[in-house]
Subunit: 203 residues, 2 copies
């Protein structure tokens, strides 16, 4: 179906993989899941749409969850830029961008989180390729705030990042709205805690 006719000296023997299959599967998975939802899309549908046998999918990914994760990773990982605004504004922009993306991809993300609960190997993949990388963006914003003196040196960045992500995961997983009101209330409480943290525990 493709033409991998490169002379290619140092390659293993055997028929080479069709270079078009993976992109076709990723595209098919992404658009089908966006249109019908993760549960309503079968691997057979994805393979048919990509014009490929189902086995070809399983030769490239361990399962449906890994394929769909790859299919959505790009679009979810594009708001990584850390600007030079005050950290609270940086966090606000992070959430605004994220929540806009989640209106389209939220259903897929929820299903991937669900898949990670039922498959330990996929949990590890999801954790390292998605969750930890997302968390790192927020940690970078907070570390920069500490370096610039916006936050005290003792600020607990690790826990703040967990609370930050946990808060909207919780609302996402319970089907509660992720809107601007929530952003402001979350930022207000979290930033108050981060700024006040050192002189705490006095009572």
């Amino acid at each position: 179906m493709a033409m991998p006719k490169q002379p290619a000296s140092n390659r293993s023997p055997g028929r080479p993989r069709d270079a078009g299959a993976a992109p076709a599967l990723l595209d098919a998975a992404r658009s089908l899941v966006i249109e019908h939802g993760y549960e309503a899309v079968s691997t057979q549908m994805i393979a048919d749409t990509a014009g490929v046998a189902r086995q070809t999918l399983y030769r490239r990914w361990p399962g449906k969850a890994e394929l769909v994760l790859d299919a959505f990773l790009q679009s979810v990982m594009q708001d990584e830029a850390v600007g030079d605004q005050p950290f609270e504004e940086e966090l606000r922009r992070f959430l605004q961008h994220l929540f806009r993306n989640l209106r389209r991809d939220g259903g897929a993300i929820r299903s991937l989180i669900a898949s990670a609960q039922r498959d330990a190997a996929f949990l590890e993949t999801f954790r390292t390729r998605f969750a930890l990388r997302r968390a790192e963006i927020v940690k970078a914003i907070l570390r920069r705030a500490v370096a610039s003196g916006e936050l005290p040196a003792e600020a607990d960045i690790e826990t703040a990042t967990t609370m930050f992500h946990g808060a909207f995961w919780y609302r996402l997983l319970l089907g509660q709205p992720l809107d601007d009101v929530f952003i402001e209330r979350l930022l207000r409480l979290l930033c108050a805690g981060l700024r006040a943290e050192p002189e705490t525990l006095q009572r």
Copy 2:
């Protein structure tokens, strides 16, 4: 298998339900899931262990998730007592008790959260029968802290509760440890935010 021989005037006609089937299914579901994990336990295994046909399970619950939720609801809902300690201590005890329970039930809870992502009807059940009731306990502790003057009247209880639960959901779902260190760091940051909240936004 039982003997529901009550004369029972006002009852609908037809064979009465076996009163022992539901408890037997709940017991079987709970112990099997604790022993083997949610995914490894099939409805057939549960029914066999309960000494009942699989169809009898589906006559009482819409599906596996609802049954297992009922099977674990009791043990997870028993730390509701609100004492009269300072609110931070109340929250600490809440988390300590919860994390102890989660060492046994955490796998089941994770699978139930996962099921709720794939089944809108079960999400609603899980939300109202589990998540909102758990959240209400924490809200009650915080409301009491406001009433007693421990926290300012403007404290954002709703958002604090979301961050509180979100934080350990996040760690639970990512397979990260839920230990005493995490409890102290979570409480410190959250309580600092709640106490400092009113005079925030000054910068």
